[in-house]
């Protein structure tokens, strides 16, 4: 053993003793690249694999395992801090459908991991155990029970389970609240159609639903394919031009969540998100009644100046502000833009500063969106315009 080890160290010039282990020639040969700062020459692969030092590897194994476990634990920790609860997480379901999908995921992942570890253990056993002790692995009984019966039983149980999850999620309900969402580069047009005598209205980048009542979201696209996904509430659904897809779910607890576009749709795809707000039924009705009203009239001179600027600058050729001349259907409805939590499709908190920044710098902060930058307003005018928009509650 001593000789092979020394030779290996010489030719690969690894630093400390701990650096030389079985994985180095293997990794080096596959990657053919630098590891630990030194190039690993392909020509050395053959010799090194030949010199793989099993004994040293065994001796080193516990330390290596400990280090790896620590790393994995740290990683899992970070992951759980990032993803296990929150406004945009499939691991924190807030509706029945999402919960079923969540458990399916957990069972598949944990089950798959356990089976993988078990089989890997058997594999290692088959390689390293003394022949007389591992002989049972090759027996007909092991193969029939472990190789045939076991997978058949598992798969036969998973098939109906998966089918039942499929049947019980995304089920259309007769009394569901209808909402229409249209994906556009790079924002969401949201429409609440007439329902039970309540008037229709449009908003944008925001989905508000009542808790406890089923919702049917009908989605389509105005340009390219987008995908509508609110991780806390269920699966994704593609938004396809010329086609209407439907997603059904029920929010179970009030809160603020976040949805995203889950299909690459262009430069600003990553900045195409929206807020999803689940309200108690009474609050929802109040919100709906307020949204259906035309825009509020300005109650201060500088806000009136803002409305005038909105008209002069031609914002109304792309934006609707119900109750004013502005009736352009190209961009988001701004009638109640001040009541939304965010602007720019879930990108910035909504306040006078971000509104002004958006207007003056549109192409800078979200390059490629279909709204020009309006960089030539004076500071005072910009404040008036942004203040006007903010006042549109």
């Amino acid at each position: 053993m001593g000789k092979g080890r020394a030779a290996g160290q010489e030719s690969c010039q690894c630093g400390g003793e701990a650096e030389f282990a079985f994985w180095r020639p293997v990794a080096g040969c596959f990657a053919g690249t630098k590891s630990h700062g030194q190039a690993y020459p392909f020509s050395a692969c053959k010799t090194h694999v030949g010199q793989m030092d099993l004994e040293a590897t065994w001796r080193d194994a516990p330390r290596r395992l400990r280090a790896a476990t620590a790393r994995a634990a740290a990683f899992a920790c970070v992951l759980s801090l990032m993803g296990c609860s929150g406004v945009q997480s499939a691991l924190d379901p807030a509706g029945g459908d999402a919960r079923q999908i969540y458990w399916l995921t957990v069972i598949m992942t944990v089950g798959g991991t356990l089976i993988f570890l078990f089989v890997t253990g058997l594999l290692l056993y088959a390689i390293f155990a003394p022949p007389e002790r591992r002989a049972w692995l090759g027996s007909r009984r092991t193969i029939v029970y472990g190789g045939l019966a076991f997978p058949i039983v598992i798969l036969s149980a998973l098939l109906p389970y998966g089918l039942i999850v499929m049947r019980d999620t995304d089920v259309p309900m007769p009394d569901a609240l209808p909402i229409e969402v249209i994906g556009e580069q790079y924002w969401w047009r949201v429409k609440y159609p007439v329902e039970g005598g309540k008037p229709e209205f449009a908003t944008a980048n925001e989905l508000v639903v009542p808790v406890g009542r089923p919702v049917t979201v009908s989605v389509t696209s105005a340009d390219v394919i987008h995908s509508f996904w609110i991780p806390n509430f269920g699966g994704k659904i593609d938004m396809i031009p010329g086609r209407i897809n439907r997603l059904n779910f029920t929010a179970e607890r009030p809160g603020i969540y976040r949805g995203v576009c889950a299909e690459f749709c262009g430069d600003q795809h990553a900045r195409m998100a929206f807020d999803m707000v689940a309200l108690e039924p009474a609050a929802f009705e109040a919100w709906r009644a307020a949204q259906a009203k035309p825009a509020q009239d300005p109650d201060a001179p500088h806000l009136a100046r803002g409305r005038e600027l909105f008209r002069i600058a031609g914002c109304g050729s792309c934006h609707v502000v119900r109750g004013t001349e502005g009736n352009g259907a190209f961009g988001p409805d701004l009638t109640h833009v001040g009541s939304r939590r965010t602007i720019g499709a879930g990108q910035f908190p909504n306040n006078i500063g971000t509104l002004a920044g958006w207007i003056a710098n549109t192409q800078h902060i979200k390059p490629g969106v279909r709204m020009p930058s309006y960089g030539s307003f004076t500071g005072e005018d910009l404040r008036a315009l942004a203040g006007y928009l903010e006042s549109l509650k």
């Binding site: 798969l155 036969s156 098939l159 089918l163 499929m166 049947r167």
Partner: protein, 107 residues
Amino acid sequence: MLAGLVAWAVQFTVIYGATSTLCGRGWVGATMLGVGNVQAIILAATLAALAVTALALAWSLRLYGQAGDRAAPADRFMSQTGALINGFSLLVILWHGIPAFILPACA
């Protein structure tokens, strides 16, 4: 030896064909004895395929039993493979029939 696979292929064709034709034409409402027509067809096709495959399995198992240790290696291999294939076909036909009784016919 291939009877199981053939039965599976036939079952597959019948249930896919029947489901898409009936759903596409909107003929789904009709029922036979309280069972939806799609389900009824799938049930019939599945049972028929299962019966054929079970027979084939029994037969290939018998062949396998007859081909004792003294049989030619090729014969032993063929009878073993036949039994395996028919056994798997049985299972797969069953798996193929299950979804119709859990999911709605035309979702």
